[in-house]
Symmetry: C2
């Protein structure tokens, strides 16, 4: 139940690294963990193993680290999310928390009833989206980042999904049953509509592509809360939680 | 899957109201819902019925509303959260999202390994905490607010809990089993430790008071994410979701 950086991630499996004092990991190590020369910390390679780091030297502008990689990490969970591209702040929460929960892939599609400005956010143009994945993995003590795409249409994404497993679309207004009464077998695809709801065309496409419609109860939840609730329930049903 | 105000809450069951244009509900009605004179909206009374509002007049500084109350709302769910007083931003998310999920009571206790400044936050001294409950209820299309306390010790809170039902404490480090393998009967008490973890004294107290320890998997989640996940799982187990 900690919050923040529980595992410090590096982009390569080098066994030595020099970081500027302004690097987020250098600041965390010195400012939050308060490590001194010789001090150890938990480290990982993005999409690679976990291991241990040691602080070797602290200079005025840089720090030196020694890194030893030892522990392979398991694959992410067989859960894929399709999410109607939401406002950037909602997308940020979903990127970070879905990664922390171990989701394997996240596809933000351009919805028919969408808001075009959302796709032009610096979230997507600056690389911030990937930093949120790293943050979610560091929180969860994992090294793996989900596959993420954004800006494609729903039909294109659905055409590339695995043919087996469960496909579930959330729709508070048209769903006959709760998620808890829906069959769940891996791999699981969970589709969340955009803020303004599914269009008739999107509903038709989902039906044609064998999605079951489900709801999460009568209470209207924020998208980011609905994602956390649904992923947690599905992981439990798959025996993963 | 909407976000924001799905039901506008009022503090009394009056059938007419005049609001300053600066009131959050007036701004929402005119600025977001874009209602004109004669337009209707969904309204509710805090801890009372739902109904319909009608915009009657718009003046330069005030608006007049007519309100009709019709639909009783069901009680909140028999789920109580005990949460080690977290940093204010985390507490804000938990207050709003636990309310949206329908939790009946939230007790933020002063943990032994706590940070004294958290209790002095304007969140607790300004009444902001209650506005977050209203916001969570408005999101969820409900009128009911959970009972909330903060600043008491864990022992005092536990002494006042109902004697029947399930008591579950989350502890990623000392728990023998996942929540999904734990017996759940209503009413359910869920206890979440503080950022720095349970103290030995708190663990002993929970054991003495018949709490079962459970975990939410090997991934380390933010407190606010763990709360959403655990409440969703428990509500499903109780047949409420």
């Amino acid at each position: 139940m900690l919050g923040g950086v529980n595992l410090m991630l590096f982009e390569s499996a080098d066994t030595a690294a020099t970081l500027p004092r302004t690097d987020r990991r250098a600041r965390h190590l010195l400012g939050v963990l308060r490590r001194q020369v010789g001090g150890e910390f938990d480290a990982g390679v993005v999409n690679g193993p976990r291991g241990k780091g040691t602080l070797i030297a602290v200079r005025s502008d840089e720090i030196d680290l020694e890194l030893a990689w030892s522990t392979p990490t398991p694959p992410l969970d067989p859960v894929t999310l399709l999410v109607g591209l939401p406002r950037p702040q909602t997308a940020r929460d979903i990127l970070r928390e879905a990664t922390a929960l171990g989701v394997g892939a996240l596809h933000f599609f351009s919805p028919e009833k969408g808001e075009a400005s959302y796709a032009r956010s610096s979230l997507w143009t600056s690389g911030e989206w990937r930093r949120l994945l790293v943050s979610g993995a560091e929180q969860a003590f994992d090294t793996r980042l989900p596959e993420v795409t954004h800006g494609r249409g729903l039909a294109e994404i659905v055409a590339q999904l695995p043919a087996h497993g469960s496909r579930i679309a959330f729709d508070n207004y048209e769903s006959p049953r709760p998620l808890s009464a829906t069959t769940v077998t891996a791999p699981v695809i969970l589709a969340f509509g955009p803020e303004r709801g599914w269009s008739a065309g999107e509903r038709g496409l989902l039906r044609a592509k064998a999605f079951d419609f489900a709801h999460l109860g009568t209470r209207v939840l924020r998208s980011e809360t609905a994602v956390i609730a649904a992923v947690s329930l599905v992981k439990t049903r798959l025996g993963l939680l």
